[in-house]
């Protein structure tokens, strides 16, 4: 609240004073009482500099959403009136998508917990990626099986796993299966389809 001095307050009072408007015949219940803020009020969607089509990240109904953004930050997420599925409507979860994108609980740094440690430490993104790549390679090399004892070719590893996919894009699922199964031979690849 910007602190306003007595001069500013009184000038504002006289600008907003309704009695003269009442005397001029304007209705005390409506026009005479309307303040300057109400006159110049506009919906914040009009200040958006980018409006993108999106799909609600929650359930499989597939409601279409419009994300309004300003200076690279989301300012509103609403139902997309063009969609034959939801025609602008949303459920309570979908309607709260803006607060998910801007939730105070969102992480923005990589957190790392060393073995046996009792706290998180922040780490650079690249450091984490390099370390994970080496761990994946180590585990794969230690547990990879080319043939079963009876000679059957299997070319897989039971030591490596990937879990998750139902909340991800098709493109993400494709790369996960391609890398982990096609590339690394991991057998344990699963997602929430079975939850």
């Amino acid at each position: 609240m910007r602190r306003r001095g007595p001069v500013a307050r009184s000038r504002n009072f006289f600008r907003e004073w309704s009695i003269p408007r009442q005397l001029a015949g304007r209705d005390a219940m409506a026009e005479a009482a309307r303040s300057r803020m109400s006159e110049t009020l506009r919906p914040r969607l009009e200040r958006a500099d980018k409006v993108g089509s999106s799909i609600c990240p929650y359930c499989a109904v597939g409601c279409a959403q419009l994300i309004y953004a300003r200076n690279g930050r989301p300012i509103a997420v609403e139902g997309d009136p063009r969609s034959p599925i939801n025609q602008g409507t949303l459920c309570p979860k979908g309607a709260a998508t803006l607060d998910w994108m801007t939730s105070p609980r969102r992480l923005s740094r990589v957190l790392y917990r060393a073995p046996h440690s009792d706290r998180w430490e922040e780490r650079p993104l690249d450091w984490a990626m390099d370390r994970i790549a080496r761990l994946v390679k180590r585990t794969r090399d230690e547990t990879f099986v080319e043939r079963l004892p009876d000679g059957t070719v299997v070319n897989h590893t039971l030591g490596l796993g990937a879990l998750g996919g139902a909340t991800l894009d098709n493109e993400e699922n494709y790369l996960i299966k391609k890398l982990f199964s096609g590339g690394l031979g991991a057998a344990w690849i699963e997602n929430q389809a079975r939850v």
Binding site: S54, S108, R109, L111, H116, I132, G165, N191
Partner: protein, 843 residues
Amino acid sequence: MPQWDLANADCIVVMGSNMAENHPIAFRFVMQAKTRGATLIHGDPRFTRTSAMADIYAPVRAGSDIAFLGGLIRHVLENDLWFREFAMSFTNLSTIIHEGYRDPEDLDGHFSGWDEDEQTYLADTWQYEGQHVPSSLAEHHVLTTESFAEEVRDMSEGPPPNDPSLQHPRCVYQILRRHYARYTPDMVERVTGCPRDVFAKVADALCRNSGRERTTGFCYAVGWTHHSTGVQIIRAAAILQALLGNVGRPGGGILALRGHTSIQGSTDIPTLYDMLPGYLPQPHAFKPHATLKDYLATEQSPTGWWFSFPDYAVSLLKAWYGAAADEAGDFGYSWIPKMVGDHSQLPMTMAMADGVLRGLVVLGQNPVIGGSNSRLVQEGLGRLEWLVVRDFTETETASFWYAGDPVRNGGLQPADIATEVFLMPASITGEKAGSFTNTHRLVQWHEQVVDSPGDSRSETWFVYHLGRRLKELYAGSDRARDQPIQALTWDYPVEARRQEPDAEAVLKEINGYRVADGALLSSFKDTRADGSTACGCWIYSGVFPREGFNKARERRPDGPDGPGMHLGWAFAWPNNRRILGNRASADPDGRPWSERKRLMWWEPAEGRWVGADEIDFEETKAPDYRPDWSGNVKGMEAIGGHEPFIMIADGRAALFAPSGLEDGPLPTHYEPFESPIHNPLYKAQSNPAAKLWPRLDNTYHDEADPRFPHVLTTYRLTEHHSGGSPTRSVPVTAELQPEGFAEIPSELAQRLGIRSLDWVVLSTLRGEVQTRALVTDRLRPFRVDGRVVHQIGMPWHFGWEGYATGDIANVLTSIVADPNTSMHENKALTCALRKGRLKEVRR
């Protein structure tokens, strides 16, 4: 069928789903149908917000759905109310089954072919008489003994034997009548607890709204799938709808309401252990999959659409391994890892607990909340060498090592847990471009509008850059085992700022292209088995038909007077067809069944099928086409113009499923694995073929166990989503359901002196949880098999993170699974209830 088509239904049966709460926007079309006078029927153990809107509410005890549906099948057959012209031509009702077939009526709960010591079925005696029928679901190979193969003809050598008069004792019609003879309305009331008159009202409404002029739609969700007999429940509904002619027609069909935004996508392009993209089976070590030739020969179906299986398999290998996949090297087939058993999430939990699994990457999932037997999951996570969790916030799966069960109750300190944990921030929708596939196969693109905060990145970014680093690490290796990584095609264009890979490039690979010039395929019909085409997932082919035109981004709906199938809105697989099996919306001669339910019909002048939707059939195959069985007819030649279901070997709906299922050709009522009563219908108590993992940390309750007298069902709320992480981290949704609770029936609450908001403890052999009580009359006691059974309900969204917290419901559940899909049974188990709190205050 698409959700908007529900508005055309004359009657809608919602069962195994709480649609108003968990798919509110899909329920919008149910309400539109209602305002036009449609009847809404809801079958559910609880009276929920869906039941409040229903014209008929049928209380059905958790786990007794097949008894209810079986009763309806019997009603339809005994009273001759089935749609004769539809069923005779479009289903295998008249087909004659192998003479060795024995029904659970004869063997008191088992089908013929039951192998006691292997605890599995052999499907030899379920085949058509003298004919081996390949499965329509490619990844469910038929377990048949080798010896059976010789004296049996191939599907392509002649039509299945049938008896149009339906008198033959072993034709499917007679088998069905005998199988469901004892599912009388009295038996239904005795097993499900649903009053006889309510069952009669449901049966009447269903039959009155089926036939030429009227259609009924079914909607189901995990209320049906989360059972050890889940697949068979859905098949029961399929049989009913096929008999009543409600398949492939406007307002008809069975709509699966799936839970996650792209769970359909994650089974089409599966991050699952048993499938390759496009429902191609993952090669199996103990099946004839040694070489590519064996694999293609075993999986190719002699008749039906699956005949072109090789085109899709080879195109996938070309997409993955590019130039390295050449004819000589079996297109890199051997690089694909072979399964050696069940590697689904349930056994994965035990693999972690037993130290087999060393490293795990968790991408946007919260197994500590969603995984069955949560304490075992947390114990398993503690035994991993390293764990990567990628999510938008710190989930229970990421913080188990200091806030989870092992530390709180297991007596461990963080120092005792050796797992190296990475918690990497992930971007969410709106911060990354990509496509979701919704519950009716609609592939919709979502744009990147803003950047994700700080180091949050998309999964495409994570997997692409992990793959790039692994390729560098393995670059120098000359070992055979490292060839797959080296061969993998991995060169997606990357945008400058944050090195995010271009998602449309991946979608183009999924769509498929000609290897020679990289031209995008316009449909899966263009795929070839000679390695000249590459296609990441054949059923998605057509989503990127030409350069610069991403059909998933198209936003062109039909107006109010338009055809109403919205073909211009995004892309539906396969080939933008919105209602699957829509050939069945026309009679065998290609004329619409009725003006009111017109959808597709045969236009003799144009020589092709026309209508509001894309035809799910061969476009130019006339209805009067009949295979000429003299020659050796192959693939689609074997499917007549009057047989609409092209994915099935004989083109007809499989009322009697000769192959593809582990637990029998016909849905049979078995009690849930933990049930308060003995199976009133058969000696066999629960699904004989169910997958069990009895061990000390996953013990099961006995049948009608006095220590655990109440039935427990777990479910979702409107206000929270699945594991709850997003909605419990958003203040406005967290405050709508701020605490975990359990719904207690008022009679039981009165007996135990429990009032709303009191603390109660629910316990099973797997663990105990404390939670608030919400006493309600919406959970009625069931009079089942002469005994009064109380049901308790507990939403499973809650955990210790976020603004709304509560104990984890999945601490109570056990690991037991449906034989076909390894799906857990968290919808029906037994538990004990007492007032009070656990020893120490945990929150």
